[in-house]
């Protein structure tokens, strides 16, 4: 179907939130933002003073119900864009943004559940948009989140997730490298037993969203298939180092 191009918009940084030592949330005012669905991404374009430009894609972290658009960016050492966004960018700065894009890795409350969200590291970002959307609508769709993080310093939105964990949302965290002292939860790479504990079983026919680095997503999706979840029920989003 013919469609007008999605235009570049000039977003203004309203607020910066340090989520972890490596990740920062950019809260943006975007004029004429058309709205988005939880799970979608935007493209960001930066322009140097000599006209050099580069683009990257980032998942939207905020709920569609918010007036602002939030992106959470993890710094990749030696990267071109993420160090700028996490270290140089100030409140009041502008950046060009285009979106929202693609409608496969998305969830709306009316899609129903149960929902199984499996996140590796900053793969939590688009899944958080889904959980925020769920909370903003006071949805009671059963939801389970399994977050695999290297350490406490690598786990995003900790306080907010603790607050959201009610009304049918249960959050599990596994620390793969450095569990906090006195940690009693999972402390290993994701495996079948962990997924069985997290629930829902294939019998419950959950909608499954997996996001994280390629190796993590490969492993999680393979385990889910082995547990008997139909491959078509498992939506994945993989990311590699993208600077």
């Amino acid at each position: 179907m013919p469609q007008a191009p999605v235009v570049w918009r000039l977003a203004t940084v309203r607020q910066l939130i340090d989520e972890t030592p490596r990740a920062r949330t950019l809260v943006l005012d975007v004029p004429d933002w058309p709205g988005h669905t939880a799970g979608q991404h935007v493209d960001v374009r930066l322009t140097a003073d000599d006209g050099y430009q580069t683009e990257r894609s980032f998942s939207i972290a905020s709920a569609p119900e918010r007036a602002t658009v939030a992106l959470t960016v993890e710094r990749i050492d030696g990267g071109e864009v993420s160090p700028y966004l996490t270290e140089e960018l100030r409140v009041g700065d502008t950046l060009e943004l285009r979106g929202p894009f693609t409608s496969y890795f998305v969830w709306r409350t009316e899609d129903g559940g149960p929902l199984l969200l499996v996140a590796g590291g900053s793969g939590l970002v688009p899944l958080m948009a889904m959980l925020r959307h769920r909370a903003a609508n006071s949805s009671t769709v059963e939801a389970r989140l399994l977050l695999s993080a290297r350490s406490l310093d690598d786990s995003l939105y900790r306080d907010e997730l603790a607050e959201l964990t009610a009304d049918g949302l249960v959050t599990h965290v596994t620390f793969t490298r450095e569990p906090p002292p006195d940690w009693r939860g999972f402390a290993r790479r994701i495996d079948a037993e962990m997924l069985r504990t997290v629930w829902p079983s294939p019998h419950q026919r959950p909608r499954i969203y997996v996001c994280g680095p390629t190796a993590f997503v490969e492993r999680a999706a393979e385990l889910l298939v082995q547990l008997g979840h139909p491959p078509g029920a498992i939506r994945t989003e993989r990311f590699g180092p993208s600077g």
Binding site: M1, P2, Q3, A4, P5, V6, W8, L10, D43, R45, L46, T47, A48, D49, G51, Y52, Q53, T54, E55, R56, S57, E80, Y84, E88, L89, R90, D93, T94, L95, E96, F101, T102, S103, Y104, F105, T214, E218, A221, E222, L224, V225, P231, G232, I234, R235, T236, R238, F239, G240, P241, S242, G243
Partner: protein, 200 residues
């Protein structure tokens, strides 16, 4: 002129600008874009089928595909998620070679894959030495997460058109948008025109 991003200097690659499409950056990694789990079809159950608007469907077993004349294209590839990779080396069978086995007046192709993925291309983009069924990458069997045992290779379009885990080409007299083409990516996907999303 786009607005300047205060304090952004950028890290210009020394990539040949005539080889890097707009909005792309050069990587040495090989990232992956897939919508679902990686399928694993045993090779003895694998076959490749050309069907649809053809005189008669033709299929090849894995062994038969390997026995066809192979080519070793080297190509720059461009992913819609912004990375480009130069001088990738492949081994596979030219789609021209496969199409020589069928008669057709079709204008379009729907490539279909294990896992249910499809992508659509004009037939003209699949012929003339511009498309392959590739089964080796960098001198090794193509890894499952990169589309093994075999993927379509159409390097002049964004790389989602180079469908992983490809199992067949359905020839069509009309265009039929594929998976990503229905979920928001551009119908044709020319990286040099930056045709990333619907409307571009």
């Amino acid at each position: 002129m786009a607005p300047i991003s205060r304090g952004f200097r950028g890290r210009r690659s020394n990539a040949d600008p005539t080889r890097l499409p707009p909005g792309q950056y050069l990587t040495r990694d090989f990232p992956v874009l897939s919508a679902g789990p990686t399928p694993h079809t045993p090779l003895d159950e694998w076959s490749f089928l050309i069907s649809g608007a053809v005189d008669g469907p033709v299929s090849w077993t894995w062994q038969e595909l390997l026995e066809l004349p192979a080519e070793t294209p080297m190509a720059d590839i461009h992913c819609v998620t912004k990375w480009s990779k130069f001088d990738t080396t492949w081994k596979g069978v030219s789609v021209d070679t496969l199409l020589a086995a069928v008669g057709t007046d079709a204008k379009y192709v729907s490539a279909w894959c294990d896992g249910g993925y499809t992508t659509n291309l004009p037939l003209d983009d699949m012929t003339g030495g511009r498309a392959w069924i590739a089964y080796e990458f960098g001198g090794k069997p193509l890894a499952p997460e990169h589309g093994g045992p075999a993927r379509l290779l159409v390097p002049h379009l964004y790389f989602w058109k180079s469908a992983k885990w490809v199992r067949g080409l359905e020839l069509l007299d009309h265009d039929q948008p594929g998976f990503w083409e229905r979920y928001g990516y551009h119908n044709y996907g020319d990286p040099w025109k930056e045709q990333r999303y619907q409307g571009d």
